[in-house]
Amino acid sequence: MKLHPAKLLFLQVLVAVIALAIWQIGATVPIGGDYLLPEFFFSKPWDVLSRVVQLFVSGTIWKHLWITLTETVLAFVIGSAGGVVIGFWFARKPVVAAVFDPYVKMFNALPRVVLAPIFMLWLGLGIWSKVALGVTLVFFIVFFNVYQGVKEVSPVVLANARMMGMSERQLFRNVYWPSAMSWMFSSLHTAVGFALVGAVVGEYLGSSAGLGYLIHQAEGVFDVTGVFAGMFILAAFVLVIDWFVTRVERRLLVWRPQAASEQN
């Protein structure tokens, strides 16, 4: 059931084309007197595309893109590192985990939008307040998965490693870490998106540059085309980061048997 890469690409493009066609029709052909996707809210695909091209051609986008990239990568790296470390720590110290469990869950439930002023107060208007927002999203996703991943380590493999005399640290390196890896990467794929969301929402709530700023500005003057162009760039952008994550994953998980569902 493996697809030929060219065929795969073709199908992917086909999906995009169909989606764009629906969009175009919804925005321009009234159905029962009403537009399915009114232009005021959705713009038109062609306008959005030409705006994207224009943003790149005129070069204004680069500065914003660069800032958002920096924030996203920082949020992603700091958030996942934190999630991994604290996740492991909690998993290995059941007492710590039990005591802090309710607090972690409480923090996870705080709406980040409300926290923005506090981050600004502490971290200023620069990139760090946006990074902080991203971190609060990324951290919890990674944390919960790593925590669970460590608890799912095969008891027999663990017992064997412990009988070899591994110290806590060696167990971490040789057992917990590799075993929790597929959990970790699963959460990283979600986290990439959320890191970007955090950065953009942060910019949206207060900043002087970045994709979120661009989108917010466009929204303020009801420039939906601008909003969609910004979101489009954003989305394309996350694919690039995810591609890197996938590469690292492939590299680190060579030892896996081919996934059961891919066999045969």
């Binding site: 493999v157 017992a159 009988m163 030892w255």
Partner: protein
């Protein structure tokens, strides 16, 4: 049957006989099962293994052999009784023991070689040295050409041999082996048995060796211990094997004393196994 437990020549089995590598005194083991009465797997049982003694444990399937090894390894807390290792009460894991598990226990993310080498590396051996020794050991168990395979790329018997190398390379004072040669063909079994005996003769480890092959048990060990069918399994037989050392694991089977021992132990074992199925078999 009491005589079987306390034979005159069986000095090492009695407490206080000096250097005891493993002393299980009145150890009993229970499992809590949700919504059920506690399952008493092993009734209070004593087993003493002297330093340098090779004890084979046989018994019907599900009687509690693995459980007993787990208790000796410190992986399982007995419900009652004391476990002492070289005279010290056991607290936590048994650091003196190497344990070959009945189940697959290799790290799936490490190649065969890394799985063996890591056992040395954690003790502080440098990596190059650990790899060299790992390679040598894999050669000894007949896997020289499979060093860079991941566990899922090996056959059942090959994985077992990697695990064997992993345990032996560390050279522990006590060896706990749970059906180490189970998935091996008869010929390979003998080769591995000879390998184990050679190693054991060199620096006289204490060995607790679980097997279903009575011939193997007799051929290798100083003593064969028989467990009764569970639940509340006990040790119901303890036969010293007075065959001369060093032994050739193949030739020894031709020895008449071997056959005599075999018959003797077999009769007791058979009675025991039949009990397990007593009411249940169709």
């Amino acid at each position: 049957m009491e005589t079987a437990l306390r034979r005159p020549g069986d000095a090492m089995a009695s407490p206080g006989a000096g250097a005891l590598a493993v002393a299980l005194d009145d150890v009993s083991i229970s499992f809590a099962i949700k919504g059920r009465p506690v399952f008493k797997a092993v009734a209070p049982t004593s087993l003493h293994v002297g330093d340098g003694e090779f004890v084979a444990i046989v018994g019907p399937t599900g009687c509690g052999k693995s459980t007993l090894l787990n208790a000796t390894a410190g992986l399982l807390k007995p419900a009652g009784g004391r476990v002492s290792i070289f005279g010290e009460p056991l607290a936590g894991l048994n650091a003196k023991a190497g344990y070959l598990f009945q189940q697959d226990a290799l790290m799936p993310w490490k190649t065969a070689l890394d799985n063996v080498a890591i056992a040395l590396e954690i003790g502080g051996t440098r990596r190059a040295e650990a790899l060299a020794q790992g390679r040598e050991w894999l050669g000894r168990v007949g896997l020289a050409r499979f060093t860079d395979r991941y566990p899922h790329e090996l056959s059942g018997g090959q994985r077992k041999r990697v695990a064997l190398a992993q345990v032996l390379v560390r050279d522990p004072k006590i060896l706990l082996m749970d059906e180490p040669f189970g998935p091996l063909d008869a010929q390979t079994r003998q080769i591995m048995g000879t390998l184990l005996l050679r190693l054991w003769a060199r620096d006289r480890k204490a060995v607790m060796f679980v097997t279903h092959d009575l011939e193997e048990a007799i051929a290798l060990s100083d003593r064969v211990v028989i467990m009764s069918a569970g639940p509340e399994a006990r040790i119901i037989g303890d036969f010293p094997i007075d065959l001369a050392r060093p032994r050739d694991t193949a030739d020894i089977r031709l020895d008449p004393r071997f056959h005599q021992l075999h018959r003797e132990i077999w009769n007791q074992l058979k009675a025991e196994v039949v009990k397990t199925y007593g009411e249940e078999m169709p």
